[in-house]
């Protein structure tokens, strides 16, 4: 109960244990923390507008790279979008 109330530090015995817990306990604490962090990420909510904005922010540098790729290689409209595929095939062909 005390743990839920966030007053763990006020309990001297508990504080002594948490100051130097054994390896297994530390691993368990880290896993719990990681799961809690993962839950926060999965629970995160965004509006449709924010999703659109995020997509635009990610797409902009991707398309800029694609544009310069198509300028320096065989110009094709599709290569602006498909430049990573072309990059892989160019590397494999070399």
């Amino acid at each position: 109960m005390l743990h839920h109330l966030g007053v763990r530090g006020q309990c001297p015995v508990d504080a002594q244990v948490s100051a130097n817990p054994p390896l297994a306990a530390r691993i368990a604490i880290n896993i719990i923390r990681m799961l809690s962090g993962l839950r926060s990420v999965l629970r995160f909510e965004m509006t449709i507008a924010e999703w659109i904005g995020t997509a635009v922010m990610l797409a902009a540098p991707y398309l800029v790279i694609g544009f310069f790729w198509s300028l320096t290689h065989n110009w094709h409209l599709g290569s602006i979008v498909l430049w990573p595929v072309l990059l892989v095939s160019a590397v494999c062909a070399a």
């Binding site: 965004m46 507008a49 924010e50 659109i52 904005g53 922010m57």
Partner: protein, 288 residues
């Protein structure tokens, strides 16, 4: 003193998307809100006791003109702690600020008597912060309903209670706050020395001139735009209908863009500053 004199008037504001939603001051922490930062400094310093308290302060580490980046960090960290932080963050920050405020008191040569622990002065500063957050929030998200205004107002009390302001010092309702504000603005008076200090701030004298030059006109435009007539008059700056329309159009555009930004972009800087506060506490480093 009327609200028309003491608050900025916005004729064209973005539409409200969520008139039924619960709101808190935390939503006002979008990074665009810092555009009103310099105007808020002008408002705070427009009470002579606060103005001379800052101008005459012997605490060099917190001097905006001598250590601008540090002062910006600590000011924005205060906002992040007060609005987004936990009770323990606020407790740590209060102790740190108290340490600096202990040195801020008037001397026999000061034109006015002041003490940084004066709760009335702190209430004025907190009220200025609240007004700044409310103005920028409404410019970015649209006008609040009366219920939302009340929720927003109540959630912003930590702007003062993080330091020595007590809850009963805040006017109990949002309507009462308007009365307090109109009355408080009657004490606005910017003396020559304080005006010179604020002039240096608006001219970005504390920043590298090459960096400052392109930002100076924008800062001046935003600052005067965020000042109500009573503060503009006290500062001796001019504003007109054309600039007001430009100001409103600019924020209609910013509000539109802001709708599409996810919260980790809009408010990421405040959460990073809050994380820095916690790291400093953990590693026993100075907060201010």
């Amino acid at each position: 003193m009327t609200l028309a004199d003491s608050r900025i008037a916005i004729r064209r504001c973005t539409a409200r998307w969520d008139p039924d939603a619960q709101v808190t001051a935390a939503e006002a922490m979008d990074f665009w809100a810092f555009a009103a930062g310099a105007a808020n400094v002008v408002m705070q310093l427009s009470w002579p006791q606060v103005g001379y308290g800052v101008v005459e302060s012997t605490v060099d580490s917190g001097n905006l003109l001598k250590h601008p980046w540090k002062r910006a960090r600590t000011t924005f960290q205060y906002l992040a702690v007060a609005v987004l932080g936990r009770a323990e963050d606020r407790h740590e920050f209060r102790d740190a600020v108290n340490g600096s405020h202990r040195h801020v008191k008037s001397t026999a040569d000061s034109p006015v008597r002041y003490n940084a622990f004066d709760k009335e002065l702190q209430m004025w500063v907190a009220a200025c912060l609240f007004v700044g957050l409310e103005d920028t929030y409404q410019l970015l998200r649209g006008e609040m309903t009366p219920e939302q205004s009340e929720q927003f107002y109540r959630s912003a009390w930590t702007l003062g209670t993080t330091l020595q302001v007590t809850e009963d010092q805040w006017p109990p309702t949002r309507a009462d706050f308007d009365d307090y504000w109109a009355q408080a603005c009657q004490r606005v008076e910017i003396g020559e020395e304080v005006r010179r200090y604020l002039g240096d701030l608006l001219d970005l004298r504390m920043v590298n001139p090459v960096l400052a030059l392109p930002f100076r006109p924008l800062l001046r435009f935003l600052t005067v735009g965020f000042l109500a007539p009573v503060f503009r008059d006290a500062m001796g700056v001019r504003w007109n209908g054309f600039r007001q329309r430009q100001f409103e159009r600019l924020f209609l555009l910013v509000a539109f863009v802001n709708r599409f930004l996810p919260v980790f972009i809009r408010q990421g800087s405040s959460y990073i500053l809050l994380a820095d506060v916690r790291r400093r506490v953990r590693t026993h480093r100075a907060l201010v």
